[in-house]
Symmetry: C2
Subunit: 337 residues, 2 copies
């Protein structure tokens, strides 16, 4: 299904070059690090973020070859490398041992080595961004990294705060996901030499698509197939992370106080072996949310964000890439993995 | 003694502006993060790295006011913020609870929050570097971050490898310390619009000074006063980190095999409470090294690096700042803390 995504076809050649640049990080690097990269890159995801940078560059009318396009490829590599760096640190923080069905780095390396491997990837991401030689792109990149880290910290400190306001959820998912999607599309637009209005439209497209993407991720955490996701189901709530399905469930649940008592009675995730252990109280609630209306309500919101993302494309002339970006928004909410 | 350092006097006004920029990171930041910054900045060190960036800018003839100088101040803030970020992660990795006599962040925060706080500081450092709007400066900055992380990884994986070649020591201290010193002085030179030759001379000055600085740091780890250093004496060897005094000691010690057996019999640092525990075998060797010729031999090498650093300054016309940089090299090897 993913292979058939038109956007991945259209920017496929450049995505291969992104992959090459990322693989080249291993060359000449310290042995154990080079090996770790191969594993990290091999278990790579859908490469949506770099594809978005490249697609935005194309839609904004960037030259199809030459130095500018090379810069867009560098930026796409920066975005994906930054994403990978945050995953390495996230898995360490969450004590996650499996991601996308593969063993995580922290399952194999100790705490110190994993922290440093993530830092190294941040450094390489910054290096790729610097290769664009574009001051605004670099500034947006640094700013996005700041927003992501601050968002992760907010999420970390708000863990097991079951009664936080729903608004805080949108702040968090913008920071952790939508900001990087927006940075990818904005950077593509800047490197293509887009006018201010087109740059903003593409940044908005990325942001809204990112919001939809993260809501669906959060829904799949409840409804997904463990073997397809390559990670445990209900993991968010087990870690004390409150996402959109939970907010909707609480709004309509007859006895919220009862649910909270059940959650508060469960052990915090940090004291358990997260991969193997589970907490009865949380598992019950996950099962209830899974079959409740909360799932449909959350997906409706994701669809709304996706539709808003599509609306950002209408000011651009019709083209294959515009159509592919339109379809991507549909894919993001329809996906099962 | 430190307050009297001429270089800190000469660039003092700009150092205050660096401090302001770093403090401004807390404004508008997420509450717990802002508080952590105040503590981190309050326990600040000598601010040698930002002073070097500013001094190099001055020696290279950068304008004394205006946009270029402002960029040098931003770069100085980038260098010090990057340094602070690496310390936050180092302390986490080493389980260090005290630094410069103050409680470390990881002594107060959990693993996850500490990782993210360090990441956040990397982001802010990159943001400061981006404010220079200078492509080469940003590229050098990203490259330095990469070198530092790779060096830390090498050190981490070479822990308790007692028989590593002495050359690996120089590779490690260049990566962990001298590379950032060199990046500071090179960036100052670039932002001052220095000619290629002057830029290289200033980069070399920073690098050689950094080598001297780290050797002295490693000597002080054996000979220093615990209350002045604000950390335990002999900590490096207890953590399995082999530094220059150890290499010299082993070269002249009559029974190296005996020393190694003693070290191998001691528990690795990661299994102990590093702040309180100690390992008898290691403590004995630390005491022996402390009173051996190895200390004087290591300090001779530091003096040699410092003299080479001073030689890099001779191509610049005599000035107050040149004299201050010359004296700094003397201070670096004479310091007791």
């Amino acid at each position: 299904m993913i292979k058939e995504l038109a956007i991945l076809e259209l920017v496929g050649d450049d995505l291969l070059r992104v992959e090459q640049k990322m693989k080249s990080m291993g060359e000449g690097a310290y042995g154990p690090l080079a090996q770790a990269f191969l594993q990290l890159l091999g278990s790579g995801g859908k490469r949506l973020r770099p594809a978005l940078a490249l697609a935005a560059y194309d839609l904004a009318g960037g030259p199809i070859a030459g130095a500018d396009r090379e810069k867009a490829v560098f930026m796409a590599a920066a975005v994906e490398t930054l994403h990978t760096a945050t995953l390495v640190h996230d898995d360490l923080i969450d004590n996650a041992l499996v991601r996308r069905g593969s063993t995580t780095l922290n399952a194999v390396w100790d705490k110190g080595a994993t922290v440093l491997a993530g830092d190294y990837l941040f450094a390489r991401a910054a290096g790729f961004a610097a290769e664009t030689e574009n001051t605004r792109v670099v500034q947006h990149f640094a700013d996005t990294l700041r927003i992501i880290c601050e968002g992760e910290l907010r999420q970390h400190f708000s863990s097991r705060q079951w009664e936080q306001p729903k608004d805080s959820y949108y702040v968090r998912i913008f920071a952790k996901t939508a900001s990087l999607f927006a940075s990818a599309t904005r950077s593509g637009a800047i490197l293509a030499g887009a006018a201010q209005e087109a740059e903003e439209a593409l940044s908005d497209y990325g942001r809204l698509l990112g919001m939809a993407f993260q809501i669906v991720d959060d829904v799949l955490d409840y409804t997904g197939d463990k073997s397809l996701l390559g990670k445990p189901v209900g993991g968010d709530l087990q870690q004390g992370i409150v996402t959109l399905p939970f907010f909707y469930y609480m709004q309509t649940h007859p006895e919220p106080a009862e649910v909270l008592a059940q959650l508060d009675g469960s052990a915090p995730a940090t004291t358990r072996d997260f991969a193997n252990g589970s907490t009865a109280g949380v598992d019950d609630i996950v099962a209830q949310i899974r079959t409740s209306d909360a799932i449909a309500q959350a997906l409706d919101e994701a669809r709304e964000f996706a539709a808003q993302a599509q609306a950002c494309l209408t000011s651009f002339p019709a083209s294959q890439i515009r159509q592919a970006m339109h379809e991507l928004a549909e894919f993001v909410v329809a996906r099962r993995v």
